[in-house]
């Protein structure tokens, strides 16, 4: 009984990390209308940057985040202006192909710089810290913290998207770029700001990923697939749905892992495919209005 409870708790907590991976992908997908195939690789790239910062200054990854966030925003801005705004977006295939090209470049670039050894960010004592609210039930403090960060991030994004004037513009662009332009929305500026939000989730997600799991230059693919599954199940533009979907995939993975470790990823994929088969529109489709 306590075994089952532990699996469920771990699954729910893991869902928080997955929701953070997915948050950025969901925004790019929903607003910029691109499936950023390089999303996972960008996460891994930023995690390596965090690793370099931590190693060079011997600081905690949480402290490194203070430098990482501006760096990620700057990098994202440079990419946005230098590459993305030059892409011919009339054909949605082209941006996707560009992203795929970047994925290949990032993977092999990281391989050349860092080799294939799996790396991890060291957050110190908090990693082993656990509480036991009931006998036999163990809860990792770090995992709870990650879930709380996910909830806070989603609450902030939800408020920005549904309660601010900027949010109205983002949603207008998301619904129809042409109509938004007609009513005077500055599309380029909106895209740039939305992309800043994406890079914020990437910086936070990369550090939490690096603390919680090992990563190597080719880890991006598995992170992308998880993020993608969460976005599709959660329903585009539905941020709380993203959290719920993260928990669904997290639970699936943990249940799989409790049977055999090698089933962990596969269980997530299978649950995703079954949901896709039954409800192609996702479990929590976007609320209209």
């Amino acid at each position: 009984m306590t075994d089952i409870a532990n699996v469920v708790i771990q699954g729910v907590l893991l869902g928080g990390l997955f929701a953070i991976y997915a948050l950025g992908l969901s925004l790019v997908f929903g607003v910029l209308r691109i499936v950023n195939i390089a999303h996972g690789d960008v996460l891994v790239l930023v995690a390596y940057v965090a690793l370099v910062i931590c190693d060079s200054f011997s600081i905690s990854p949480f402290l490194a985040l203070l430098a990482l966030i501006p760096l990620a925003l700057l990098g994202g801005f440079a990419f946005q202006v230098g590459v993305f705004e030059r892409v011919d977006r009339r054909d949605p295939l082209v941006p996707m192909l560009v992203a795929f090209g970047f994925a290949v470049v990032i993977q092999n670039g990281l391989l050349l710089l860092f080799g294939t050894n799996p790396r991890k960010l060291d957050a110190g004592a908090i990693e082993q810290l656990g509480v036991s609210p009931f006998p036999g039930i163990n809860v990792s403090v770090l995992a709870v913290m990650i879930l709380v960060i996910a909830i806070v991030l989603i609450a902030i994004f939800q408020a920005i998207l549904y309660r601010s004037r900027f949010g109205i513009r983002v949603r207008a662009v998301s619904d129809s770029e042409e109509n938004a332009r007609l009513i005077g929305v500055d599309i380029t500026a909106t895209f740039r700001k939305a992309f800043m939000m994406v890079m914020l989730t990437v910086a936070v997600g990369a550090v939490l990923m690096g603390i919680k799991t090992n990563f190597d230059p080719f880890s991006g693919a598995s992170r992308l697939l998880i993020a993608f599954e969460v976005v599709v199940i959660g329903g585009l533009g539905n941020l709380w749905g993203t959290l719920a979907a993260g928990i669904v995939i997290g639970l699936a993975q943990m249940v799989g892992a409790s049977i055999d470790v090698s089933y962990q990823t596969l269980a997530g994929h299978l649950v995703f495919l079954v949901i896709l088969l039954i409800r192609p529109q996702g479990l929590f489709p976007k609320v209209v209005g």
Partner: protein, 331 residues
């Protein structure tokens, strides 16, 4: 009085290109008589690339379905061949049957994935590739990461095996080129290009979009499975990580994007280019792959029409174009 327009036919350049292609493929058929084993192996690889590029272009260039999961079919056909050989079937029939068997998987798959929107389709195919790879790796026959060799194929006379594989590859490429040409010049080509350009509009004028997409999906899957079988026949060892590797998608994307997405000649040019680049830079490993990525990005940004687009420019007519052009009657 109404003017009767007709569909444009082939230009002189088109017929010359077709004749040259046929002569080249015929030359490849007699080549094993004189060429060294190394050359035969390399040409087999080139044929596999052409087959993959043509298949991927059929899907992405003509039906607008970009997939980053076509390695599903490459990997699965190798696995089926392995299983069939294990069941006691001779290697050559097994290679053929393995390719066909994949369609049993591709057909039901098409029902799931073709309902998705384009962007979701792309990544969902990747999830499927990873799922099937995990499942295949649970089969003890494959021996996990180690992989397994096709012993019975290895027992064949090496030169004979090489020759047969190259001949099969040339045959497969010829069939793929002729089939896709006939498909695309025909009704299906018009329908699929209409779907690629605007799926809703295509549906509203009475095109059964799901049927057209499914046909293209299955033909493309078949091309990838045959390529997978041929690759296994020349590499002999089957490793699930390589067979289901994302690198197949990287190569397909590179060839089609650089050659010319949605043109008939583009994938062939792209395959030749990838083959040449690999011959020269292949030993550089990660540098080489990163370079492929950079070239693909540059083409996507500055020459989305690929080499074919660059050659043809705006004024000239695209060689062997699949576009339907109307020609006014003379006089």
């Amino acid at each position: 009085m109404t003017t009767r327009y007709r569909l444009g036919g082939l230009s002189r350049l088109d017929t010359t290109l077709m004749a040259a292609g046929a002569v080249l493929l015929a030359l490849l058929l007699v080549l094993p008589l004189v060429a060294s084993p190394l050359v035969v192996d390399k040409l087999t690889l080139l044929m596999i690339y052409v087959l993959l590029a043509v298949s991927w272009n059929l899907l992405a260039g003509f039906a607008g379905l970009v997939s980053v999961g076509q390695q599903t079919f490459v990997g699965l056909s190798g696995y089926f061949v392995l299983r069939l050989v294990e069941a006691g079937i001779a290697p050559l029939p097994a290679l053929a049957a393995g390719s066909a068997a994949v369609l049993v998987v591709a057909w039901p798959l098409s029902w799931i994935v073709l309902r998705l929107r384009a962007a979701e389709f792309a990544v969902a195919m990747w999830v499927i590739a990873e799922t099937i790879r995990s499942l295949v790796m649970f089969d003890p026959l494959v021996q996990g990461e180690t992989g397994r060799s096709l012993m019975t194929l290895n027992a064949m006379d090496a030169d004979l095996r090489r020759t047969i594989v190259l001949l099969a590859a040339v045959l497969a490429v010829s069939v793929a080129l002729v089939t896709s040409y006939r498909l695309l010049r025909g009704r299906l080509g018009g329908e699929s290009q209409a779907i690629r350009d605007d799926e809703e509009a295509a549906g509203s004028i009475g095109i059964d979009t799901l049927r057209v997409k499914r046909t293209i999906f299955l033909v493309s899957a078949l091309g990838c499975t045959v390529a997978g079988s041929l690759w296994l026949a020349s590499a002999i060892t089957y490793q699930p990580r390589t067979a289901f590797g994302i690198n197949w998608s990287v190569f397909m994307l590179f060839m089609v994007l650089v050659g010319g997405l949605g043109s008939f000649t583009g994938p062939v040019i792209g395959a030749l280019l990838l083959f040449a680049i690999q011959e020269v830079f292949g030993d550089y490993g990660s540098w080489y792959l990163a370079g492929l990525g950079v070239v693909a990005i540059l083409f996507a940004l500055y020459a989305p029409g690929g080499v074919v687009g660059l050659i043809t420019g705006r004024s000239l007519r695209e060689p062997l174009s699949m576009r339907k052009t109307l020609v006014a009657p003379r006089g």
